[in-house]
């Protein structure tokens, strides 16, 4: 129901708000995307826009996809994604959608893959409290007991344990838009976003 765009995380900096407060902000580059296909209820069973992001050379796209882009009459893109939308009739194939759909002060949700942290213990991975660092304690960063006794006699599925942390899709909700720069295709949001520099992000308007 909400129009979305893809972008690239550029990095963070600090700006001053109107009330003189310094805020940490993240800069995201949102290249103009293009409508590649419009899916309609009658034909596809649902209404949606298929949007392409980031121009690439034709050679980098498989032949079936080349045909898909050719039919739409647009240059090949690296990423294709769908946005479910009721008012698809407002758009035609080949329409450009740019960062201008977002306004300053507006709230948006940003999704992306978080930084991969590798194999981590329970304190970092699940925010367990751990034990005391000193005073003769022998229990520092261990998970502690993981189950009960003969009943049930096993560890319950889904028990929070050490393992691979990060590198999964994370959504930051209701980030405030500080600035929209249509000339440079940049959007500046308050706070941080998932992922490393240059990682792919999906931006969409928040629910009211």
């Amino acid at each position: 129901m909400r129009l979305a765009l893809l972008g690239r995380k550029i990095g963070m900096t600090q700006l001053f708000e109107d009330d003189n407060k310094a805020v940490a902000v993240t800069v995201v580059e949102v290249e103009p995307s293009v409508v590649v296909q419009i899916k309609r209820e009658e034909k596809d069973g649902y209404n949606a826009l298929q949007i392409g992001y980031h121009k690439i050379d034709k050679k980098r796209v498989s032949q079936p996809l080349q045909g898909h882009f050719k039919r739409a009459g647009v240059e090949p893109r690296r990423h294709l994604f769908e946005v479910r939308l009721d008012e698809v009739d407002k758009y035609t194939v080949g329409d450009e959608i740019n960062v201008g759909i977002f306004q300053e002060k507006e709230r948006i949700d940003i999704s992306g893959n978080s930084r991969g942290l590798g194999f981590q213990g329970v304190m970092k991975r699940w925010n367990f409290a751990g034990g005391p660092a000193s005073h003769g304690a022998h229990f520092h960063r261990k998970p502690g007991a993981v189950g009960m006794c003969v009943l049930p006699g096993r560890v319950i599925k889904g028990k929070k344990m050490p393992g691979h942390a990060g590198a999964k899709r994370v959504t930051m909700k209701r980030l405030q838009v500080i600035k929209v720069d249509k000339e440079r295709n940049l959007i500046v949001v308050k706070g941080s976003t998932p992922g490393t520099l240059n990682s792919l992000l999906q931006l969409r308007k928040s629910h009211d």
Partner: protein, 103 residues
């Protein structure tokens, strides 16, 4: 620094007189107390400048009734009116902390 970040910051940067560590400067700071607005001047020695762009900071040290006082200002904050150089200093360090012991 990434040029796109610099571009975003450039809109918020303010013209500033150049100075360096060891200089004596006057910092004009706008202060709002309730409805009243006034400008406070903090005059002292530049001990340290750090960071660049909108994050640039400057630490100024002065003696206030016999006690050394240091204050750190964000250079491009909207409430910093201006910074005047009173006297150019000559120090070899970029952070002349040894002056704390002397003054």
């Amino acid at each position: 620094m990434n040029e796109l970040i610099r571009a975003i910051e450039s809109d918020s940067l303010r013209e500033q007189t150049s100075f360096r560590a060891g200089d004596i400067v006057k910092v004009y700071e706008r202060i709002t107390e309730g409805a009243k607005k006034r400008t406070q001047i903090f005059e002292g020695l530049v001990l340290k400048t750090s960071s660049s762009g909108t994050k640039a900071m400057v630490t100024v040290r002065k003696r206030s009734s016999g006690i050394g006082v240091e204050k750190t200002f964000p250079l491009h904050a909207p409430w910093i009116e201006k910074i005047d150089v009173v006297k150019k200093g000559r120090v070899r360090q970029s952070r002349p902390y040894y002056l704390r012991r002397l003054a």
